[in-house]
């Protein structure tokens, strides 16, 4: 097996002390930000993007992937002990998890979440290791017009499938595409949308856009609506499970993995849809469906597994096609681009050492996470008591650090504040932030692929639908648009 040999080489690289250290720092930091309210893995990666200037590619990517996986573990602690999930991927965990905690079964809820995450993460990462190279191999045959169609599909799926309102998702996407255009055009060298401002000619750095919309926008939004009553945290002990809990958990873990992995790889991926599906599936299959709504362990085990498996699925599309399906993946793509590495079919050929080290370190990081989360869960739970003024001061502080360090330019901090205020307005008026971030990062790629396709065809636009693959993609796009239009006409979103 070719993949197996490459994986062994990957393990050799990942097991070097330096890389082990980055994986460890990544999973600790990921759990940390996953537990903390108001901050998640996507925001953390955005804040740490400047590290790509000083770290080796393998180290930075191992760190980032560790944060991604760790964030998925940490999020469950918050939603179980505090009935208010921060990340949308933990919404379903909170439903049953918090009920379990209130009924004195918090320890079992944390255990099934952590062990389920480990099982799902390990299986899904193994699937990732074997499917990503296959998919990359297939993707070599894709042409520029196929990629252009995939980027359009990703834009529309991310904007219209998730969230309550398709039109607000598209508005967010349009804003992101606009920011992505600012700066010097890659092909012609012409300045675009710089409005004569000098510091805009190099473009608005991804760090500034992502940190502004995610971190500053979130901190401003929460600060302006800060809860004055302290949140209601359910105390808990050491996670453990009885034999009965095990026998009720293992099937939901496997079913959750089976749902999470493929949905993570889809353009409208992310964890929302598979965690929701897993919850309803477990409710249907449960031997005691009446327990649902009162703290059924299956309702924690399934969605938590789905949520972790979807992270691995997301990486398949990111590594093999270069298409991000979630905000975190979009920022990882941006990290690759900073190293002049283009995720996609050639990634496995050009930089196999980095990719395989990354994949191997995911397996290692997943094991570290189990060890970190099972015995230490009560310790992590203490983080929930962090006084909020310090938490949000810290987020704003690191936002400035990240965006200032990119160009050493105070003007960037002004742009950061403007984008932060925009992020505030988006949260106020129900515009999702993720489409904007995907638009900024993937927009220039999309234009590049379109130009490449037209160059090959000598300006003949019919080349865009000249392949079977692109026709398939456009049919899907039409279906998504029709569905969104139908939904929009039937009922406007209620306040």
């Amino acid at each position: 097996m070719d993949a197996l040999n490459s994986l062994l080489d990957g393990f050799a690289t990942a097991a070097q002390p330096g890389n082990l250290m980055w994986a460890f720092i990544g999973v600790v930091l990921g759990t940390f930000v996953g537990v903390l309210p108001g901050i998640g893995p996507a925001m953390t990666l955005a804040l740490l993007l400047p590290l790509t200037y000083s770290l080796e590619p393998a180290s930075a990517l191992i760190l980032f992937a560790g944060i991604y996986y760790g964030g998925m573990y940490g999020g469950s602690t918050t939603s179980i002990l505090l009935n208010a999930p921060g990340e949308s991927s933990s919404v379903m965990t909170a439903v049953e998890g918090n009920k379990m905690a209130k009924a004195g079964r918090g320890a079992q809820a944390l255990a099934t979440a952590a062990i389920g995450s480990f099982v799902a993460g390990t299986i899904a990462t193994a699937l990732l290791i074997f499917t990503a190279p296959l998919m990359a191999h297939f993707a070599v045959s894709l042409k520029a017009q196929d990629y252009f169609a995939i980027t359009l599909l990703a834009f529309l799926a991310v904007s219209t499938v998730l969230g309550g309102s398709a039109i607000r998702g598209l508005a967010s996407l349009a804003l992101g595409l606009t920011f992505g255009l600012v700066g010097i055009d890659a092909l012609t060298g012409q300045q675009r949308l710089t409005f004569g401002v000098d510091s805009l000619s190099t473009g608005i750095d991804t760090v500034v856009v992502a940190v502004g919309l995610f971190a500053v926008g979130e901190a401003l939004w929460i600060a302006a609506h800060l809860r004055t009553v302290p949140p209601d945290i359910v105390p808990t002990g050491q996670p453990w499970m009885s034999r009965n809990d095990w026998s009720r958990s293992w099937r939901p873990w496997l079913r959750g993995t089976a749902l999470g992995f493929p949905f993570g790889a889809l353009p409208a991926g992310g964890a929302e849809i598979p965690t929701f599906l897993s919850y309803s599936l477990e409710k249907k299959l449960a031997r005691h469906p009446e327990e649902f709504g009162h703290g059924a362990i299956e309702g924690v085990a399934g969605p938590e597994a789905a949520n972790n498996a979807s992270a691995a699925g997301t990486l398949v599309t990111l590594l093999a096609l270069g298409i991000p399906t979630t905000a975190t993946a979009a920022i990882m793509l941006s990290a690759f681009q900073r190293y002049d590495m283009q995720p996609g079919p050639l990634l496995f050929e050009n930089t196999p050492d980095v990719v395989w080290a990354l994949l191997a370190s995911l397996l290692i990081g997943n094991l570290m996470l189990l060890v970190l989360n099972l015995p230490l869960a009560p310790l992590w739970a203490k983080l929930l008591q962090l006084p909020r003024p310090y938490l949000y001061a810290g987020i704003l502080f690191f936002s400035i650090l990240g965006s200032y360090s990119v160009n050493q330019n105070p003007t960037d901090v002004i742009v950061l504040v403007v984008l932060g205020l925009l992020g505030f307005l988006m949260r106020r008026y129900g515009l999702p932030v993720v489409p904007a971030v995907i638009g900024v990062i993937l927009g220039p790629t999309s234009e590049g692929k379109l130009r490449q396709a037209l160059q090959v065809s000598n300006g003949d636009w019919s080349t865009l639908w000249g392949t079977a693959f692109s026709i398939g993609a456009y049919v899907l796009i039409a279906a998504i648009l029709a569905h969104a239009a139908y939904r929009g006409l039937r009922k406007p979103v209620a306040a």
Partner: protein, 170 residues
Amino acid sequence: MSELATAPAEASKRVGYSEFGVVGLLAGLGVLVLIETRTIRESLASHGTLGPRVAPYFVGVMLLVVAVFLALDIARGGRGEQEAGEDVDLSHGTDWITLLALAALVAATGQLIPLIGFPIAGAVLILGVVRLLGSRRIVLDLVVSVALAGSAYLLFTEVLGIYLPLFGGE
């Protein structure tokens, strides 16, 4: 926005009007993009494929079209769903003073970094934010501000190799 709780019906109508602000923002940006795109020069480098104007024109038109559809949605009673969260309490209105003070503080800190250095500017920011958000333990606030700004500076410059100015005026 303190009337929000006392007169919910009237308030929700007013909030409804403010939704059109988003329409204005999108449409305004769309017009700006279209005007600015006219100033982009065509170039021989893009012969045979898309020139530098096509994508900005497309995005400008997209902004306008989205603005129109959003206006229709709002006119038919559609409302944006405010984002919830662990620390978010939507039952009281927006605290505009805190919001604007924080935004001004962040912007000012960015301008201070080249003048007085990152550690001091960072400590001032943290202290300012925690006080604005209601922390009233002055000694702890001071210690946290200085310790966090100082240790983050050391970590990022010495360990991670990211440059940040130590003192101002360099």
